[in-house]
Amino acid sequence: MEAISVETIKWVMVAKEEDVPANGGSCVMYKNEQIAIFNFKKRNEWYATQNMCPHKKQMILSRGMIGDKECEPKVACPYHKKNFSLKTGENLNGEEYSIKTYPIKVEDGNVYIGGLE
């Protein structure tokens, strides 16, 4: 893994663009952190969140289905269909817990995540 510094955010390359399915997600490991990355092809957007669903604390969100709720991009946890905004990490079922999101970008076929320790 190689670290590239752009502006003030430190970016870490975590995957090849081609390894993340279109309109789906994958999980990457950085140090001891599991991060779910989503290739939202339908909107031409990429998102990154924590992989753990806070509801039952399972490492699972990268296997969730993505979509939108009234235009807000979201991921649904496979276990109990808890919905989280991919933009803000907010729980969209009105429950209190939320998830962490990370800056993400794709350059030259490589996927980078920002803000990692």
Binding site: M1, M29, M59, M65, G67, Y79
Partner: protein
């Protein structure tokens, strides 16, 4: 509290981290600890309460913790880690919650209550006894009538000594003995406080100084502290109204509550005791199920005065409304708690009989009238719409079932059908989407969404469309893996802890010793937990996602195929041993079951499908509890359809009798395809039949008499599915690109390091959620 911006936007100065230390009532100003002085015209004291700590000798010892704040909970958790036994002082609502917390932390748990019963403010004697018995079955010990004299121990807690001379050894004590109003400021500034604390207020919630108000748990109104959230909101409303020049007053507030306590439903409403008024009461008690219900009725028999529910509180909402709105009771008031019997119609005649003023959502103060007019004037079509429009159901959520009933009833009254569109992305019903797929020959979700949908899709429409595409074209489902539910995506069933279970197909439940050994060898090699399923096959649990293709490679090598336990598709065809071995058997049920299972294996449907074949009327295969079941008769076979176990068991209904095998298969072809065509998503055949206009008679007409002239078409569609069947797992095992997706990380070959198991009865199980 609201976000900081909110205060700014509404012109409110918010002072944080600077408590008020003095009220100067002469100068009408408050002075803070940092010396700031803020003057007022009117002052509201909403200082809340703290945990009441009884003055017991030894209460200051290590290991005595209050139960009130988030920090308290952290303290309890960390102290529990080094304790084996814990005692809760206080058998009220919070005390019992605290006991549940100690139990969950793995402690031997005791509750000590001063009063002779649990929840003395809410429950009558018999209700409290029922609750006590239910809680004791969870291994929580309850000690009533106990007055703690002292807490002993060298520095930290070791035991409690009671006034009756008895003792209880313990490692820690959690105190939940009620609340203490924070009235210090009021007291120091000379405002009147109650003998046991609390700032005395009048009907306008003014204290003894008319320019100073008090609300919430710091206020003492008619000798009572209101410790619930709803009266707190009501108090705030009264003061706001008064400040704005209104004349609204506070009145003794209804303290009805319903909650789930340690898994036991408990509710109390109106006057649960009726010790001071003339009344009659009706009691229902079922000790075996742990249910106690009591309603108090006015002496004239016309009105409900209050009641207690333990173990089953589903009638709470209706009872509360009947009480609050003084609805005249039916001549048989026992129906209120027993439900209508002998097939009579419901006596309360449902939610529509409530007056418009009936408060449905007490968290957000929304009446029935508000909800019904919102549905009518805003054209609402679902509960989500009601929530958004009226905020009803957004608090505790207890009224959501009533919202649903009100919605359905209101829509029905206005002659509107309840909308059955797939979701916000497709404004078509499932049946319409399926017709579009067939007529346009669309084969992918993306194309369908682009041409007939809107937005980006979601977890409702994606798997629904995936199922319809599979039921129509029968392509390998992993060709579109991102629209599949997680089980279909990994062709296995996800279980607690993130591992999967694997079920190879064992048609009819018949298996050779060689194949049994092969399963055993593979299960051993991958250390899988083994269990025989209800469908006569073997489930192997605890497989990591990266192990799935390896396991299947070996299973396929041993002659197995996918069992589709993960799909909304045909699961198993159960069979009894039939005429080959059984002295009662009329025909060979095993052979027929295998034929049926081989024919329909892999067929995807709106929901899962189960089947069975019995060799005689003794029905050992339980065919009448299946989506389609076959029972041998002396003249042929009887075909039953639309049976179901599950949450709402339903016997299958006879579709045709004494038919031969060929006719039986023809009818099943037609039946399944007709179900696939017309059912809503995730409706089992039983639910589908219950909604089908004309019921089983209509279904017989379509399937047996071919009244719609569809028979041949349906059979042709089914034959296509049979001819194009392929084992999904074989396809994955042989396809490197598909295999590659079975991995936890895409940037590391290691498995998910958070997966953890523990031992149980010589096998393993995943550690509990979040452990």
């Amino acid at each position: 509290m609201a976000p900081a911006d909110w205060y700014k936007e509404n012109g409110i100065n918010l002072y944080l981290n600077d408590p008020v230390v003095k009220i100067d009532r002469e100068k009408k100003a408050v002075i803070s600890s940092k010396g700031q002085t803020v003057s007022y015209s009117k002052l509201v004291l909403a200082t809340g309460s703290s945990c009441f700590i009884p003055s017991i000798p030894g209460i200051e010892k290590d290991g005595v913790i209050a139960y009130r704040t988030i920090e308290d909970l952290d303290d309890i958790k960390s102290y529990a880690a080094k304790s084996k036994k814990g005692v809760v002082i206080g058998g009220g609502l919070l005390g019992l919650e605290a006991a549940k917390a100690l139990m969950d932390l793995g402690l031997e748990t005791h509750v000590v209550e001063f009063a002779p019963k649990l929840m003395p403010r809410q429950l009558d004697e018999k209700g409290a006894i029922m609750l006590k018995e239910k809680i004791e079955t969870l291994n929580i010990s309850i000690h009533l009538n106990k007055n703690t004299k002292s807490i002993e121990g060298e520095g930290k807690v070791a035991k409690m000594v009671f006034a009756d001379g008895s003792e209880l050894e313990t490692d820690m004590i959690v105190v939940s003995a009620g609340i203490k109003p924070r009235d210090e400021l009021a007291r120091e500034s000379g405002l009147e406080v109650g003998p046991r604390g609390g700032i005395v207020v009048n009907d306008l919630l003014q204290t003894s100084d008319p320019d100073v108000y008090s609300i919430g748990e710091s206020a003492l109104y008619k000798g009572m502290i209101y410790g619930l959230v709803a009266p707190g909101y009501e108090m705030a409303d009264v003061v706001a109204n008064s400040l704005a020049g209104g004349s609204k007053t506070f009145a003794p507030y209804d303290m009805s509550t319903k909650l789930k306590l340690i898994g036991v439903d408990v509710a109390s409403f109106g006057d649960p005791f009726c010790t001071e008024q003339e009344h009659q009461h009706i009691v229902f008690e079922d000790k075996t199920k742990g249910i106690y219900k009591r309603v108090n009725i006015s002496a004239c028999g016309n009105y409900l005065l209050g009641g207690v529910l333990v173990g089953d509180a589903k009638d709470y909402n209706m009872l509360l409304q009947t009480y609050k709105n003084a609805i005249i009771l039916p001549p048989t008031p026992e129906d209120l708690i027993l439900g209508p019997r002998s097939g009579a119609e419901s006596t309360g005649s449902g939610v529509l009989s409530l007056p418009d003023a009936a408060l449905i959502c007490s968290c957000e103060n929304v009446t029935k009238g508000d909800i019904c007019s919102a549905v009518t004037y805003n054209n609402l079509e679902d509960v989500a719409g009601i929530k958004k429009c009226t905020k009803a159901g957004t608090g505790c959520g207890g009224c959501v079932p009533m919202l649903n009933d009100l919605l359905t009833a209101t829509l029905k009254a206005s002659g509107k059908e309840v909308n059955k569109v797939l979701c916000e992305h497709f404004s078509y019903s499932r049946q319409e989407v399926l017709a579009i797929i067939k007529s346009t020959e669309i084969k992918t979700y993306d194309e369908l969404l682009m041409k007939y949908g809107n937005g980006d899709g979601c977890e409702v429409c994606k798997p629904a469309v995936a199922s319809m595409l599979a039921s129509t074209w029968n392509d390998m489902i992993l060709n579109q893996d991102t629209i599949q539910d997680t089980n279909d995506k990994y062709l296995a069933n996800i279980q607690k802890g993130g591992t999967y279970s694997v079920v190879p197909r064992i048609p009819g439940g018949e298996i050779t010793p060689e194949k049994l050994i092969a399963i055993g060898v593979i299960a051993k090699k991958y250390d899988l937990y083994c269990k025989i399923t209800g469908g006569q096959r073997i489930d192997l649990f605890g497989a990591r996602v990266d192990e799935l293709p390896l396991i299947w490679e070996e299973l396929i090598e041993a002659g197995f195929e996918s069992g589709h336990a993960y799909g909304k598709s045909l699961r198993t065809v159960k069979s009894c041993v039939g005429s080959t071995w059984c002295r009662f058997g009329l025909h060979d049920s095993v052979t027929f079951a295998i034929e049926i299972e081989e024919r329909y294996k892999g067929l995807r449907a709106p929901h899962k499908l189960k089947s069975a074949v019995s060799g005689c009327v003794r029905e050992c295969a339980e065919a009448q509890g299946k989506d389609f079941g076959i029972i041998a008769t002396d003249k042929g076979w009887n075909l039953y359809v639309c049976g179901n176990g599950g949450a709402k068991p339903q016997h299958a209904k006879l579709l045709a009798s004494d038919i031969d095998k060929e006719t039986c298969i023809k009818y099943i072809d037609r039946f399944l395809m007709f179900y696939i065509r017309t059912a809503e998503p995730l409706n089992r055949t039983s639910t589908w039949l219950n909604k089908l206009e004309g019921g089983i008679e209509y279904l017989k007409d379509v399937i047996v008499n071919d009244s719609l002239g569809l028979g041949e078409q349906l059979e042709k569609e089914m034959q296509y599915m049979v001819d194009t069947y392929k084992c999904e797992w074989k396809d994955v095992v042989e396809n490197p690109a598909k295999r590659k997706k079975f991995t936890h990380f895409i940037n590391s070959p290691i498995a998910d390091p958070t997966i953890k198991f523990q031992a149980m009865r010589d096998q393993k199980k995943p550690v509990e959620w979040g452990a």
